[in-house]
């Protein structure tokens, strides 16, 4: 379901692809590199995020997503470690469910929320691949709420179309809530259900005193997103360090 490739591109300092639930994003990170004078910050690294849609050139929609991601990454990256430099993140959307939702031209008013988790996730993986010092990592997920109030994780295009509200939540590796983008009509009770579910998907454990009986009922085996990412990084590191292994094990 979730597919991660680290460092697929050769020229960028770090890169990653993240594919999940019909959304696929390639991210590249260059940095720390020289920054233009007008963007230079005296005490921290400037972060530049550029999103390139699958078809067409970026517009106001992309600017909004860029500013969300930039605000988030400024908190995640240890920006004070590289003052007066630039960390440049380029995100290329390869596939999205918008294509099936809106055949032809994508209207500007179409919701830009569903692609956000893939963008966040790809940028974090690319930052890891570029070895940029981070204070934490993050995991993000998309959840839709059905008409009957049911919570549907990883919704399909049809689910999104029929949803009364859609939510993107991102959690840091410490379990803090980093990003929320919720839209549609919903009550706070619904939102709290969504929050608990998202936390379970991303971070695994529940909050200590959350009273979530209905969640304990669905005991489906969900590999938490954090572990999937960790595994991907672990495998990549193992593959790069295979020369260090003893000759016996390498021979097999």
């Amino acid at each position: 379901m979730v597919n991660v490739t680290l460092s697929p591109l050769y020229r960028a300092d770090g890169s990653a692809t993240f594919t999940s639930n019909g959304y696929s994003v390639i991210a590249a990170v260059n940095g720390p590199i020289e920054v233009q004078r007008r963007d230079e910050l005296p005490e921290e690294a400037a972060i530049d995020v550029a999103i390139r849609p699958a078809a067409g050139v970026g517009g106001v929609r992309e600017r909004h997503l860029e500013s969300i991601i930039q605000n988030t990454l400024r908190h995640v990256i240890l920006v004070s470690a590289h003052p007066r430099t630039l960390i440049q993140i380029t995100l290329q959307i390869v596939a999205s469910q918008d294509d099936s939702l809106y055949p032809g031209n994508l209207p500007q008013a179409a919701s830009n929320v569903p692609v956000l988790p893939a963008l966040l996730q790809a940028s974090i993986l690319a930052l890891l691949s570029a070895s940029i010092p981070l204070s934490m990592t993050l995991t993000a997920t998309l959840i839709s709420v059905k008409e009957n109030g049911g919570v549907a994780p990883s919704p399909s295009a049809q689910d999104l179309e029929a949803a009364t509200s859609i939510h993107v939540l991102a959690f840091s590796s410490h379990g803090d809530l980093l990003v929320v983008e919720s839209e549609g009509y919903f009550t706070m009770d619904t939102w709290e259900k969504v929050y608990a579910k998202a936390r379970l998907i991303c971070h695994g454990e529940k909050e200590e005193d959350s009273e979530s009986e209905d969640l304990s009922m669905d005991t489906e085996e969900v590999t938490k997103l954090e572990d999937i990412l960790k595994d991907a990084v672990r495998q990549k590191v193992a593959a790069e360090y295979r020369w260090k292994q003893s000759p016996d094990s390498a021979a097999t």
Binding site: A12, I26, V57
Partner: protein, 292 residues
């Protein structure tokens, strides 16, 4: 902003000396391509081409627009190339580089001016509604020979793309979703591809599919676009060292052979893809296409 690093004097000398002895640094023959991998996305019209370490992704999309007032019967076909920092840190966001202009001009001449895709076939209601087809070419990794990689990806994507079926009843245009009617392939008249040849020693030596380093060391390049039938669509030698006129003839001859090679590769990739999509072999029965 960092600039693309030029090879050092030693590197340059090394590459040139090796070429003098007919050796390329990656061990290829002078007229051999790097490994080519053509893959398609889940949606129609997405082709991802890897040419060694160079990687290009093309996506075709279509929408209905009003035609230009002076061309009432012609659809619109646009090619968009944008080089981003994904491909190399030397590229800036939102600033058009010379390479980008060069690339999009060559592709446009190859595909549109050669009538590979006839814009008339994109017309729906004359003067009112036409298809606007766009090819977004995303350069993901720039390690030499972008022209061939981009033309390969674009042609493969165009050949694989399926445009929604339409019908006109009483002046009312209906566009069918893929569920209602199977989308139909584009009307391509021929399948041109671009080959870049880099020359050394005053055109005495020519190599196919140069890497970035070879490109930087070369005296100049010749771009030839042709179709597998051997018809030449474009020959371009923009600047570089002067060469004998006969060298160009040799270049064209060499390129046509290479185009055939690549054309077969695309055929094979498309065949494999259609087999994969046609699960259970029902598409032949469902096809609305007539035998002509």
């Amino acid at each position: 902003m960092p600039r693309e690093a030029e090879p050092s004097i030693n590197e340059r000398a090394f590459v040139l000396q090796a070429l003098e002895e007919n050796i390329r640094l990656d061990g290829r023959a002078l007229d051999a391509f790097r490994d080519i991998d053509i893959s398609f996305g889940d949606d129609y019209g997405v082709a991802d081409v890897q040419l060694g370490k160079t990687r290009v992704l093309t996506r075709i999309s279509a929408s209905i627009v009003a035609p230009y007032p002076d061309r009432k019967f012609d659809g619109v076909f646009v090619i968009i190339t944008e080089l981003s920092p994904l491909a190399s840190p030397a590229f800036e966001v939102g600033r058009q580089s010379d390479l980008e202009t060069h690339l999009s001009r060559i592709l446009e001449t190859t595909l549109r001016r050669s009538q590979a895709i006839s814009t008339e076939s994109l017309c729906l209601v004359a003067g009112q509604k036409v298809w606007s087809l766009r090819a977004d070419i995303h350069i993901l990794s720039h390690c030499g020979n972008l022209v061939t990689a981009a033309s390969l990806a674009t042609l493969a994507a165009l050949r694989q793309y399926r445009i929604p079926d339409t019908s006109i009843k009483g002046g009312e245009l209906t566009v069918y979703t893929p569920l209602e009617r199977d989308p139909i392939p584009l009307a391509l008249l021929h399948h041109p591809l671009c080959i870049t040849l880099n020359y050394f020693e005053n055109g005495e030596k020519m190599i196919v599919d140069a890497t970035l380093q070879e490109q930087q060391c070369s005296e100049g390049e010749v771009v030839v676009a042709a179709n597998p039938q051997g018809e030449v669509c474009l020959v371009q030698k923009g600047g570089g060292g002067e060469v004998d006129a006969l060298v160009l003839l040799r270049a064209v001859d060499m390129a046509v052979g290479k185009v055939r090679e690549l054309g077969k590769l695309v055929d094979r990739a498309l065949e494999k893809d259609s087999k994969m999509r046609d699960k259970g072999g029902i598409s032949a029965e469902l096809s609305a296409e007539n035998e002509r």
